[in-house]
């Protein structure tokens, strides 16, 4: 199902949690609502599910305006962060509960519940109660319960944040598998950029209730519209270097280093205070005399197949990857090229991309 939101706004008193959103969620796709805590992503989810009333704007499921529709009529499935399983019911009863409410005959609903349990791989745990399940198993049961009534839209609120690191990896693959298998339009909320990047078709990045950018994960990474987007995505985080534009080149704020870059626009605003973003993998050491900039190696840390080096650019410090084959010692200067991807200029004041 296609979901469209139109000038959607939510205010709590004076506080605007979601500010004038216009967006589409594509049919059959997995979309992440990504952002730091308090950015309004859960509020958005709750408005989509109908738990929270909308202040302004409209929500459309395909052609239907569901803005004022009560949650139970919207045909959505929702998985809460704490899973919200009913502790007194068995796994099977939990999964079958939505059908029990719909008064589906008992044999039929149990049959269906078993089928769902099989889909999420909990079919061996049917008689257990939630208290006797691990976090990952509870998660699976919660997903099965959300899917059993064949919702038009599946909403997942921070589905992985209560799991330990290894299980998190496993469950995010599972969510993707189940989503592809059922083809249900899915929106999931997360504050973890890696989670969003790894399994989603599209990421909607939010901050303070305002849409920052919506794009496919790789687009978001390669082409951030502003400094916030660039900083939020990527591990290690992108390097931010403060400086000014002089003569169509970037000069660090203490004038120690000048960076010329072929992909800079030809008419950069002279004298503008800017922030240069360089991803750690965007700088590569130069074997010959040609280079885009020079930095002094401060320290090196091995990461296995490569090393992470800290460079001094004047009084500022950046992180870049170094191949282990280079033996430059800390304290030495090294020349670097910049790749065509992963280098961005932002206005210092507004954070907008230049």
């Amino acid at each position: 199902m296609h979901v469209r939101i139109d000038h959607l706004t939510k205010r709590f008193g004076d506080f605007t949690a979601v500010d004038d959103f216009n967006m589409d969620f594509d049919d059959g796709k997995l979309t992440a609502l990504l952002g730091p805590s308090g950015c309004g992503k859960s509020t958005m989810l709750n408005m989509l599910s109908g738990i929270l009333p909308v202040t302004e704007g409209h929500i459309y499921f395909d052609e239907d305006d569901v803005t004022g529709m009560p949650p139970q009529d919207r045909g959505v499935g929702l998985v809460f962060q704490n899973y919200a399983l009913y502790p007194h019911m068995t796994v099977l009863e939990n999964i079958a509960f939505p059908l029990e409410i719909k008064k589906v005959p008992k044999t039929e609903r149990l049959e269906k519940a078993k089928e769902m349990a099989k889909l999420v791989h909990v079919d061996t745990l049917l008689d257990r109660r939630p208290g006797a399940l691990s976090g990952g198993q509870q998660q699976r049961v919660a997903i099965a319960r959300a899917l059993i009534k064949e919702p038009r839209l599946l909403l997942l609120d921070e589905p992985l944040s209560n799991l330990d690191a290894r299980l998190r990896l496993e469950m995010r693959e599972e969510i993707r598998r189940i989503q592809l298998r059922t083809g249900v339009t899915t929106i999931f909320v997360t504050h973890d950029q890696e989670e969003a990047m790894s399994i989603c078709d599209k990421i909607v990045l939010m901050k303070d209730g305002i849409l920052q950018q919506e794009d496919a994960p790789q687009e978001l990474y390669d082409d951030p519209h502003n400094l916030f987007v660039a900083n939020f995505l990527g591990n290690p985080p992108i390097n931010n270097i403060e400086g000014v534009i002089r003569d169509n080149a970037f000069v660090t704020r203490d004038s120690a280093v000048t960076i010329r870059y072929r992909n800079f626009s030809k008419d950069l605003p002279e004298g503008r205070e800017v922030i240069l973003g360089i991803r750690a993998e965007a700088a590569i050491i130069s074997r010959d005399e040609t280079h885009d900039f020079t930095g002094r190696i401060k320290s090196r840390y091995t990461m296995g197949k490569e090393e992470l080096a800290f460079l001094n650019l004047g009084d500022q410090e950046i992180r870049v990857y170094l191949s282990t084959e280079y033996e430059d010692k800390p304290g030495e200067d090294a020349n670097f090229h910049l790749r065509s991807k992963g280098v961005f200029l932002f206005d210092k004041e507004t954070g907008e991309r230049i």
Binding site: Q72, G77, N82, Y83, A84, R129, P130, Q138, S161
Partner: protein, 275 residues
């Protein structure tokens, strides 16, 4: 090590001492109801009746008066009281815990303040009310005035408050109404709390004495406790008959407690939620 053992010795000594003081009256009551007249009146006292199967006192106690009727009245009153109070308490607690309505907290605060009014004061006004309603000398008069209990509602509301909102919203999205959610989710989860409330209610209803004395004068509607009281004059000096009747009167509460204890202790573990 040594100091520990001495400490343990004293701890257990005092615990056992306390237990003996607590249990002795019960032992005396129960054992005496099996004694013969000679055993009961002997001095020094007989500690153990010669025949534990001597049911003579029980038989005579039941013959003496409509003890069976009293017993039945008590059972009816207690059962109805527990059931009705339970329902009213559940509905009240749900409303105060989950529903939003104007002045909810103010109303609840006011109710809590009412709890400070002593029972004895209410007795007078309640008595006037039931006399005017011509309810005196009936079984409902023992039940209806106590149907709503602020105290029980307060306990249950507090428990309901601990059930996370996400369960509620989850059920709502699945299409469950408030009513369905209450009975299918909240009540089963709150079972330990509910059993505790019902047990307390059953005990106070079974043991209530002051109110029945005031409003019941007819033999037909006497409860066990009233019956025991009148028994004192009727059985005269035959204390062991009274003790046999008393033994019978506490029996249901003991059975009830043994039965309900399992639910209180084995309360549903609060699984199914993380975070």
């Amino acid at each position: 090590m040594r100091a520990d053992r001495i400490r343990h010795f004293f701890v257990y000594f005092f615990l056992i001492f306390g237990a003996v003081i607590m249990l002795f009256p019960f032992y005396w009551m129960i054992s005496s109801s099996f004694k013969t007249a000679a055993e009961y009146n002997s001095f020094p006292p007989t500690w153990v009746p010669s025949n534990w199967l001597n049911l003579d006192n029980f038989v005579r106690a039941f013959e003496k008066r409509n003890f069976f009727v009293y017993f039945l009245n008590s059972v009816i009153v207690t059962f109805c009281s527990v059931a009705l109070t339970g329902i009213v308490t559940i509905l009240g607690a749900f409303a105060f815990s989950r529903l939003r309505f104007p002045f909810r907290n103010a109303v609840f605060g006011l109710l809590l303040a009412f709890m400070m009014v002593p029972f004895e004061m209410l007795v007078i006004t309640n008595y006037q009310t039931v006399t005017r309603m011509k309810m005196v000398n009936s079984l409902p008069v023992l039940i209806i005035p106590f149907i709503s209990s602020i105290f029980y509602t307060y306990i249950l509301k507090n428990f309901f408050d601990t059930i996370p909102d996400s369960l509620y919203y989850s059920a709502r999205i699945d299409g469950a109404s408030n009513w369905k959610y209450l009975w299918r989710v909240m009540v089963p989860i709150a079972k330990p709390s509910l059993v505790t409330i019902m047990l307390l209610n059953a005990i106070s209803s079974w043991n209530s004495f002051m109110w029945p004395t005031l409003v019941i004068t007819s033999n037909r509607y006497r409860t066990v406790q009233l019956g025991l009281f009148t028994f004192m004059s009727e059985a005269g000096s035959d204390t062991k008959l009274q003790l046999a009747a008393s033994t019978v009167s506490i029996l249901p509460m003991i059975v009830l407690f043994l039965f309900a204890r399992r639910y209180i202790v084995n309360g549903v573990a609060r699984g199914g939620l993380k975070g």
